[in-house]
Amino acid sequence: MAASPHREMWEKLNLDIEAHDGLLEVLGKFYGDIYLSQEGRLGGMEYLDFVLSEVHGLRIREIQDARAAGKKVIGSFCVFVPEELTLAANAIQVGLCAGADAGKEEAEKLVPRNTCALIKSFIGFKLARICPYTESCDLIIGETTCDGKKKAYEAFGELVPMHVMEVPQQKNACDRTLWKSEILRYKDRLEALTGNTITAENLKKGIRIINDRRRALQRLNALRAAVPAPISGRDVLLINQVSFYDDPIRFTESIGKLCDQLEERIQKKEGIVPESTPRLMLSGCPMAVPNWKLPYIVEGSGAVVVGEESCIGTRNTRDLVDESGQTVEEMIDAICDRYMKIDCACFTPNTERLENIADMAKELKADGVIHYALMFCQPYAHEAFKVEKALREADIPMLSIETDYSMEDAEQLKTRVEAFVEMVS
């Protein structure tokens, strides 16, 4: 690879240059195979191609410039971390991706081998020094969503500056009280870190920006429900993934433009696939960049993905924060309420997720649902049974898949997915 103009910056961030070059090369190849090879993509996707090609370059440069100007950077792993507050404190929030096997062996020295790939990956990325986002963070926010993460943050916290938020596991009044106090604790931590006070004015703005981003993604999700599907599932997944680290205002604008193009396409009844293509919805664990394995297999098997019931998908965009609050207190309450609606599998009981999945599948006119759990992920593996039951009652076929980031099961996955596609066609 030619010497990158960003090399000096990466060196400053203390990345392992050689390992990082290796990662970029794999990423580039993956991207070419999985994304650029698609036929009939929208012009608007060039924005994403550019963002992704510069994911470790220009965006990191922007972040470094912002840091040099005094801004703080917050990293997160979960959609529970309220970005509204982060923006109100004039900090930048990035989702740390953790979607590839890297530094796995090293990570297995700190966490048990039967830990999900996502956890191993975020630890591995840190240990292998290949993630410029992780290296740019002034603070990383963990959350006590599952036991795997909860315990992993104890080890991870020795490597990076951390703050762990306690996410409740039920949705009673006392749980809401706990969550609100956690949001306030995060607010204090942010204010201390940035030296900025969160005021009604900047919090209102923060809520607005993040809601706008959600609205743009909601619009996208509504448009893709058209028959024939106007955009591939891979592209929408990528858009969702990019939403976690690009500047939110720029992102919202670009997605707006893309949606305009989609509307034109829909009017002309143009699809990325023929009308008869089986439509599948993915549901389950988050798919962090560059975990594109399953969507790629699905769309390579003659189906199109029309929705992601996932944290990198509708779980992150379905609900908005009420914008009517005037005081900081009112807005914190609104934020609290909005986040308590998240139907993560870590909650017990979590029946709203079952309803949401069935409703979503119907709205998207999906012919079937693929439930995706990362191996060793207890919460989602458990819910797979319930989801299947709920979907069966709604007469929607479901295929349950448990996998990780490795390619060793790709052939078997293909057979299963293809058989499922045959079954629903």
Binding site: P397, E402, E408, D409, E411, Q412, T415, R416, E418, A419, E422, M423
Partner: protein
């Protein structure tokens, strides 16, 4: 003339149909060059269409066979083949070389649900082949050998390698080898019975795939499921037959 070709991990099967009739059935080892095997099986035949199935199906799609090639999964192929042979069948079990599949069928023969083993070979033909080789008995007669057992010894490990270790240590304890063999067969049956229950086992159940030739597995399966599986005359041809049937509908 339509050819259905099933490229499995261990063997390649060919079924050629002409209208309703089967005009050729043949089988060969997969080897490292499955395509040459396919060509050998086809010989002079020039079918107007080839439908490939099995884990090697994409090899066919990419090869230049001078005929149109389509592919379907072995799940669909087994469902189609079974439904034609046994129209009343509601469940299909296929134990092949490396994969085990349980398929539940609707009353019109469509796939309603299916399960497949994941990365590991426990409970598949490969497992039996491996343990048979430890006993130095050809896998074809290993089932009969096990039927000479009079006590089902328990083998707890599902893993091929560890099951072998368990078998060896039972041998060292002086257990009758036939009983150990019986125990190994029972472990295969335990695993497949669970898979069948997960797809909602309903009878008639058709047991296909190469392992359906193993009389011991059949016997133990009857006991485990309290019901009699139906065995096709050529159990390992069902996939290739289903593929050919698919071809005749295109």
């Amino acid at each position: 003339m339509i050819a259905g070709i099933d490229i499995g991990s261990r063997s390649v099967e060919l079924v050629v149909t002409d209208g309703e009739k089967i005009i050729r059935q043949a089988k060969a080892a997969t080897t490292f060059d499955p395509l040459s095997q396919v060509k050998k099986l086809l010989g002079e035949l020039r079918p107007e269409r080839i439908v490939g199935t099995g884990y090697g199906r994409n090899l066919l799609a990419d090869a230049d066979l001078g005929t149109e090639v389509t592919t379907i999964t072995e799940i669909k192929a087994y469902a189609l083949g079974t439904h034609r042979l046994f129209p009343a069948a509601r469940t299909v079990l296929d134990i092949g070389g490396q994969d085990t599949k349980a398929i539940s069928l609707t009353n019109t023969g469509k796939v309603a649900r299916f399960e497949m083993n994941d990365r590991c070979a426990a409970g598949t033909g490969k497992f039996l082949e491996h343990v048979a080789s430890v006993f130095q008995i050809p896998v074809e007669t290993f089932g009969d050998y096990a039927l000479e057992g009079d006590e089902v010894l328990s083998i707890n490990s599902m893993c091929t390698v560890f099951a072998e270790t368990e078998a060896t240590s039972l041998m060292a304890q002086g257990q009758r080898p036939q009983n150990i063999a019986l125990g190994l067969h029972a472990s295969v049956v335990r695993r497949t019975a669970n898979m069948l229950r997960r797809v909602g086992l309903e009878f008639p159940l058709v047991f296909a795939g190469g392992v359906a030739r193993n009389r011991c597995v059949i016997r133990l399966m009857q006991d485990a499921l309290s019901g009699e599986p139906l065995i096709p005359e050529e159990p390992d041809m069902v996939g290739a037959y289903g593929a050919a049937l698919h071809g005749s509908r295109l």
